[in-house]
């Protein structure tokens, strides 16, 4: 027994030594490299979305691997960490990024983990740019958190407006227990929709649930006109399956998460009516589309992470934009020090991005006024642009 103890202890020391010697710098710039942290889920409920968002960031890094600050050209290195879509793992994951000396952090997909990590970034004074985390709480109390996407109140209202304008009067709202993203979107949708005069039936499903039979049946039983379920891609696939099996007979409405090739793949060959709001429509920037597709064809890992085909998700485009914003911020700051970057961010104005220009308001949110409404062409299994919808 003693031997095992001895072994463990010595292993412990060796490991500490190794890690300690791994070297780390305090400034963010280590010689010629600048580190940008990528705080995204690679597993868990939001793993699929997180990977697609990371793809955009990685592509950005491939297109623009360097940044010139002052007169010096620095290599940009991505420090990617998996937050496992889990609030309790998010804090240590974030701490990992901070400890490795990043200048700033991008992410995450899924608001809950961003909220959980906000304190860590705040304490370390490292700025973070949310890519597609739409819950208002992310930036509300954290001066370090910025974001380049629209917010849930906006998106929820947009969806409610769309539903009301399409003549729907009674909505079935499904969210996931403990998921800030879906709970938030349902909440804002409910507010806007009832204000317009609509009626809402609300239900929640527990973690790890894959059986959506009863939820679809409930929506049918209650005589709803629309099935609103702004949930994760994982759940979306199962919902589509059940909706198809039970002939749901009403349109399905969802938020930006559903804008994914996995959803179109699941819906292909059905007669469902799926409408989503999102940040970007493929074809909006042909040059970007072609570039990233070519990259994915080349890189088999990237292709797998995108779900096996080259259909673009809006979050990928957003990831790309976030990376470009990060580079601009570094340039504007004139240094790789997190504090300087933080100081430069509020007044930053970035143009020429894939999903539209970015400026930040006083809470650190992007000023966005319109969302894309897309509809699934279930015959071909692709998204089709419907219109741009605003909140008013």
């Amino acid at each position: 027994m003693k031997k095992v103890l001895a072994l463990t202890l010595s292993l412990l020391m060796v490991l500490t030594f190794c890690v300690g010697c791994g070297g780390g710098s305090d400034s963010g710039a280590d010689g010629d490299t600048i580190k940008i942290g990528v705080f995204e889920p690679a597993s868990g409920d939001n793993g699929a979305g997180g990977k697609q968002e990371t793809l955009g960031i990685q592509y950005g890094n491939k297109v623009q691997p360097t940044v010139t600050i002052g007169d010096k050209e620095y290599n940009v290195e991505l420090e990617i960490v998996d937050n496992e879509s889990d609030n309790s793992k998010a804090v240590t994951a974030a701490q990992n990024l901070v400890s490795s000396g990043v200048s700033m952090v991008l992410g995450s997909y899924g608001s809950a983990v961003s909220i959980a990590a906000a304190d860590t970034f705040h304490e370390a004074g490292v700025p973070a740019i949310g890519v597609t985390c739409t819950n208002p709480q992310v930036t509300a109390d954290c001066d370090e958190y910025f974001r380049i996407c629209f917010l849930d109140p906006f998106q929820g209202t947009v969806l409610a407006n769309y539903a009301w304008e399409s003549g729907m009067k009674k909505a079935y709202c499904l969210s996931k227990l403990g998921d800030d993203y879906s709970v938030g979107l349902v909440n804002y949708f409910k507010k806007a929709f009832t204000a317009l005069g609509g009626e809402v039936v609300e239900e929640q499903f527990p973690d790890k649930n894959t059986d959506f039979t009863s939820y679809v049946a409930n929506a049918k039983k209650k005589g709803c006109d629309v099935f609103y379920s702004p949930v994760s891609i994982e759940a979306a696939v199962n919902i589509i399956d059940q909706a198809k099996a039970q002939k749901i007979g009403m349109p399905i409405l969802a938020g930006d998460t559903w804008d994914s090739n996995m959803v179109t793949a699941a819906a292909k060959g059905t007669d469902l009516d799926i409408v989503v709001t999102t940040f970007y429509q493929e074809g909006g920037n042909p040059e970007f589309d072609e570039g990233i597709k070519a990259w994915m064809e080349e890189d088999s890992d990237a292709l797998t992470n995108n779900g096996g085909n080259t259909d673009l998700a809006a979050v990928t485009a957003m990831g790309y934009d976030a990376y470009m914003v990060a580079l601009e911020a570094l340039k504007a700051a004139g240094s790789a020090d997190p504090a300087d970057v933080l100081a430069a961010l509020p007044s930053l104005e970035v143009k020429g991005l894939v999903c539209g220009d970015v400026t930040f308001n006083e809470t650190g949110d992007a000023n966005k006024t319109e969302a894309f409404v897309k509809k699934c062409n279930c015959e071909k299994g692709v998204w089709e642009f419907v219109k741009k919808q605003s909140a008013n």
Binding site: G47, L177, A266
Partner: protein
């Protein structure tokens, strides 16, 4: 009529999921009957059967991949028994349970690694996923097939247990482990056969389950596994018909709870049922009462 028609979809869904739980529950109840072990890894064997199917279907035809999935589950289950349970057979009960939890943790994490944490979509088996109308309800073919197939398999299994030599050996071992080993019964063989049956049925259950709920991720086996175990306890652990009845009851109740709007408590309800049965009739519906020997 309207009452029936509005509840029919839930009852149908309940029967279907109940049948799928039943196929998993048999593995739990048989292993428990013989080894007095909650095989926590059983739910993960079930998940792995589903996962392997996703990969197999890309290289071979459907019928062959179903057979391969069943074989895979059997091999996996018996390997787990050989590697993780057999060496600990004389160890305290807690150790072997911890080993089971460890295996479950390992299986989930390997699945997480291989899938990259992404949900995989189960291949569509068109005749199982065909939509059918039953009165006012619309559902998948698999909903109808499941209970029938479950009952056929269970009747077969009960016949096997009651009328064959190996069945008799199983009954003997479950009644008295030590004596039967002294009587010349090859315990290891009986245990292997138990795992073969349990895992084979779980693999069939996985085909039915994932045809109905098509997303598979590393945690897909955890909840169905736990619920199936509860079903086994509910029906009286060690009793095959008990496990099946328990599974159907749990499946139907769960869906009715959801239909009644108590969706938050749909999982918790299963455990409420478990605790109630443990308090009221700890031996389950069909279990036998034994007495502690001092």
């Amino acid at each position: 009529m309207s009452l029936i028609s509005s509840w029919l979809p839930y009852i149908l869904a309940g029967i279907a999921i109940g049948g799928q739980y039943a196929l998993i529950a048999i593995g739990y109840t048989m292993v428990y009957g013989i080894l007095r072990l909650i095989n926590f890894a059983h739910g993960d064997v079930f998940m792995w059967s589903g996962l392997i199917m996703v990969y197999l279907i890309t290289v071979m035809p459907l019928w062959l991949s179903i057979i391969c999935v069943i074989i895979f589950a059997i091999v996996l289950g018996t390997t787990i028994e050989k590697v993780a349970y057999r060496p600990l057979r004389t160890a305290p009960r807690m150790s072997i349970m911890i080993s089971a939890i460890g295996v479950s943790y390992l299986l989930q994490n390997v699945a997480l690694y291989i899938t990259g944490g992404l949900t995989k979509t189960y291949p569509s088996i068109s005749w199982l996923q065909k939509t059918v109308d039953i009165g006012p309800a619309t559902t998948k073919m698999v909903t109808l097939i499941t209970p029938i197939l479950t009952i056929v398999l269970v009747v077969g299994l009960v016949m096997l247990i009651n009328h064959t030599k190996i069945g008799m050996a199983m009954r003997a071992v479950s009644r008295d482990f030590e004596t039967s080993s002294l009587m010349g019964i090859d315990i290891n063989r009986v245990i292997t056969v138990t795992f073969v049956i349990g895992c084979g049925l779980a693999a069939i259950g996985s085909v039915l389950f994932f045809s109905n709920y098509t997303g598979i991720n590393p945690m897909s086996g955890a909840m169905p596994g736990l619920k199936a175990f509860v079903a086994a306890v509910f029906g009286g652990i060690g009793s095959v018909p008990g496990a099946v009845v328990g599974a159907f009851i749990i499946g139907i109740c769960e869906n009715i709870i959801k239909g009644a709007g108590w969706t938050t408590f749909s999982d918790a309800f299963t455990f409420v049922l478990l605790i109630v049965i443990l308090m009221v009739k700890p031996t389950g519906l069909f279990g036998e009462k034994n007495i502690d020997k001092v």
